[in-house]
Structure formats: structure tokens, C-alpha cells
């Protein structure tokens, strides 16, 4: 019987964009890498995403954003998770992210940025390495 701590990840789609193939591919890959993955579905508000993260007690939140609004969305997420007392969650961002915005996202508290086209193995390896540290 498995009694160990398993990594639990929320893959969330905030905002308006209606494309979730990428998010689903990442979710599937993380599952195959041995993680428990909750997928939020499309068109989620930040409040809903944070609510799910609280109830599911995930270790990691992955935001998939294709609309270009990644900075305000990420800013709002950090504000809300701190309010809810779960500011310690590991947050990563994927989607359409220009490289010039990466430093700003990291400054906000994002641990990893994986723009579309990043090899899945890289994302997985990254998450596994930080979970070992935590």
C-alpha cells in the first residue's frame, strides 16, 4: 500500500482563451511521470483556481496562459494565494510567453516558465527536482 507523499499538481486555465490542448498534454505527461494531476477545465477565474488549490491541497499550480495576459493574471494569483494562506505553493507558467517577460514572472514568484514548445521532459524534470528540495 502506497503511504508516501505523492506530488499533486493543479493545471489551471485562467481567463478567456479556449485552447486547452497544450494544458491537457502537460497534464497527461505529468500523470505518466507519476504525479496526481487535477485539471481545472477552461475559463477559470483566479478565485476559482485558488479555491480548487485549497480544497485539493496541491503542492504545485501550473497556469497555462495563451492570451498575453500572463503578467496581470500571475500577479493576481500570487495576491490571492497569499490572502488564502497558501503562498507556499510552487507556481509555474506555460503557454505563449515571450522571453522578455520571463524575468518579470520570476520576480512575481513564479518558479519556472515553460513556453509552448518546451520539451515535456524538461518540465517534468524541473518539477521533480524542486519537489525533492521541498
Amino acid at each position: 500500500m502506497e503511504n508516501k507523499k505523492n506530488m499533486k499538481v493543479l493545471i489551471a486555465k485562467p481567463g478567456l482563451d479556449g485552447h486547452d490542448r497544450g494544458a491537457k498534454v502537460v497534464a497527461q505527461a505529468l500523470k505518466e511521470a507519476g504525479m496526481e494531476v487535477v485539471y481545472s477545465g477552461l475559463h477559470r477565474t483566479i478565485d476559482q483556481i485558488v479555491n480548487i488549490a485549497v480544497q485539493e491541497d496541491v503542492n504545485v499550480i501550473g497556469l497555462s496562459i495563451m492570451t498575453g495576459a500572463h503578467i496581470p493574471i500571475t500577479q493576481k494569483l500570487f495576491q490571492k494565494i497569499k490572502e488564502k494562506g497558501i503562498g507556499d505553493k510552487i507556481v509555474f507558467v506555460g503557454g505563449v510567453i515571450p522571453s522578455r517577460d520571463v524575468p518579470k514572472l520570476k520576480e512575481l514568484g513564479v518558479v519556472g516558465v515553460f513556453p509552448g514548445g518546451t520539451p515535456l521532459a524538461e518540465t517534468i524534470q524541473f518539477l521533480q527536482s524542486i519537489s525533492k528540495k521541498g
Binding site: 500500500m1 500523470k31 496526481e36 480544497q55
Partner: protein, 313 residues
């Protein structure tokens, strides 16, 4: 314990943490459950089982809304299978519970079954206690949905709903899968599909001729997407609840069930602990070496492993 106090005061974050601790099998988690236990036993714990795609999540969503409208405080535990090849799981039930999720006060927790048999996880019962501690009085548990009999879910629930669809096949298939062996209420879902009413009649006839207890299992027709038939389902659930409380057959079943669940958990834990103790021994490898060289047969290997695990003095 501070965590327990917080749960009892309605703090969702603490409840979520505590459920994780039970999933991880941590001593602190079990101590907290012992403290919560005296506060439990009053909620109506309802299990929803049935094959993949039958409509379990959709029905849970609709039930949560209707119970919520009637003033019920609803908690949901949705169990999904852990991959047979590893520890990963895709927890997707929540996606179909978006209406319930929007309701104030509905707490939804997804959970991977982590290899536990019978449609639930080892931590599912603990999670139900936590949700009751949090103040929920209706707890809906969606099973893994293996398409076969999920015995363990019936051990932790007051009422079990078995969800079928018109394409379930024929009576023989139903019997083979054992789907009608558990379940206090049968739902024929997707009545917008052809053949649903006839299928429901067939099952009703089958159940009437196989009646084993005082409770007559009703067969209800439901179109979950439209919410049709959900009020009748709630009425049937309430009736069944009354039956289990008032009828001695109902309450003695509950006592028997909890004993069976403890034995089921014991079996899993005992197996895990035993394997940990013996798998590093040289003899353990040696047995499998012999098995692979075909110098011993599989049953001989099992007996040798047994001797290793439980040596006779």
C-alpha cells in the same frame, strides 16, 4: 489538536491538509481522525458507483445542487484510478462538477485510489469524517468506476447509487460484472437515449425476482445533463436513509460493513509492511531466481515467500 479545532470551526484549508495527511498515512493524521470521530456519524454518506462514462460525476453535480437548495451542506469526494503502471493519476471528475463548485459551501476533493480495492482509496472514509467535521451533512462519494462490483464503497456509505445506461448490454453481462450486487438504488441514466425505459423495466423485473432484503431496490430513470429525475433520486435517497436508521436489517448491515472495511484496510497495510520487511532479504531474491529458472513452480514460490514472511518457530 489545533488542526482538528480549525476543521471543526469550518476552516477549509485545514480540512484539505488533514485529508492529505491521511492519504500519506501519517500518524498525526490518524490521531486527528480519532479526535474527530466522536463528531461523526450523523451525515448522510452517499456513494455513486457505475461504469466509466455512465454519468456519475454529472449526477453528483446535480445532487449537490439539489441538496444545497434544500439547505444541505454538501461535501464531495471524487475518487479516480491511479495508473496501473505507476503512481500517477488524472483527477478529472471535478471538471463535470462545475455547477456544484460554484455553490457557496460545497467542498470538493479529488483523490487517487492508490491501488486500494473496491472503488475507493484507503483515505476516503477518513476524508468523509473530515468533511463531516467541517460541517457537511450530505457527503457524496464518487467511486473509481471500474465497471465491476465496487464492494468497498458500500462499506463506507449509508446509501449506494448504482448508475447504469441503456447500453449496459444484457442481464448476463450485468450479472457477470456483479454491478447489481451492491447498490440500494439503481439509476438508469441517459434516458434521452433509445431503449432506456425498457432497460429500466428489465432491471426492475430482475431485482424484484431477486429480492433478498426488506428494502426493495428502486430503479429510477434519470437524464442527468438536464437534471431530470434528480428530485426523485433525492426522495429515494431520503427514504433509504430512514430505512437504514429504523430497520434492524439496515443498521446491522452497517455494523458488519465497518468491520469488513477495517479488515480490508488491515489486509493492505499488512501486505505493505510485510513486503517491506522481507524484500531486502537474500532469500527473497533467491526464491524468485529459482522461479525464473523454473527450478520451482509458482505455488512453491508462494509457500516459500510465506515461510519467509511468517516463519514457524
Amino acid at each position: 489538536m489545533e488542526l482538528v479545532d480549525k476543521v471543526l470551526r469550518g476552516d477549509e484549508g485545514s480540512a484539505a491538509r488533514l485529508i492529505s495527511m491521511i492519504e500519506e498515512g501519517r500518524d498525526e493524521g490518524y490521531e486527528a481522525i480519532s479526535l474527530l470521530f466522536p463528531y461523526t456519524g450523523k451525515a448522510h454518506v452517499i456513494g455513486v458507483t457505475g461504469a466509466p462514462g455512465a454519468g456519475k460525476s454529472t449526477i453528483v453535480d446535480k445532487l449537490a445542487i439539489s441538496f444545497g437548495r434544500q439547505g444541505g451542506k454538501v461535501g464531495i469526494i471524487a475518487v479516480d484510478p491511479t495508473s496501473a503502471k505507476g503512481s500517477g493519476a488524472f483527477l478529472g471528475d471535478r471538471l463535470r462538477m462545475r455547477n456544484a463548485e460554484k455553490l457557496e459551501g460545497v467542498f470538493i476533493r479529488s483523490m487517487a485510489h492508490r491501488g486500494f480495492p473496491g472503488g475507493i482509496a484507503k483515505a476516503t472514509l477518513g476524508a468523509a469524517y473530515v468533511l463531516e467535521g467541517l460541517g457537511k451533512d450530505v457527503i457524496l462519494i464518487e467511486s473509481v468506476g471500474s465497471g465491476q462490483t465496487e464492494i468497498q464503497i458500500s462499506m463506507i456509505c449509508d446509501s449506494v447509487v448504482t448508475v447504469l445506461t441503456p447500453d449496459y448490454g444484457d442481464e448476463i453481462q450485468l450479472m457477470k460484472a456483479g454491478l447489481l450486487e451492491i447498490g440500494d438504488i439503481v439509476v438508469m441514466n441517459k434516458t434521452d437515449r433509445p431503449g432506456a425505459v425498457e432497460a429500466a423495466k428489465d432491471i426492475e423485473f430482475y431485482l424484484m425476482s431477486h429480492k433478498k432484503q426488506h428494502w426493495q431496490i428502486p430503479v429510477l430513470t434519470v437524464e442527468a445533463i438536464q437534471g431530470k429525475g434528480v428530485e426523485d433520486l433525492i426522495a429515494a435517497l431520503k427514504l433509504h436513509r430512514t430505512y437504514t436508521v429504523e430497520n434492524s436489517q439496515g443498521s446491522s448491515k452497517k455494523k458488519e460493513n465497518i468491520k469488513r472495511l477495517v479488515l480490508a484496510i488491515f489486509k493492505e497495510e499488512f501486505w505493505g509492511e510485510t513486503l517491506k520487511k522481507i524484500q531486502d532479504k537474500a532469500m527473497f531474491d533467491d526464491i524468485f531466481q529459482q522461479l525464473q529458472n523454473s527450478t520451482i513452480d509458482p505455488y512453491k514460490a508462494v509457500r516459500m515467500v510465506m515461510d519467509l514472511a511468517l516463519p514457524t518457530e
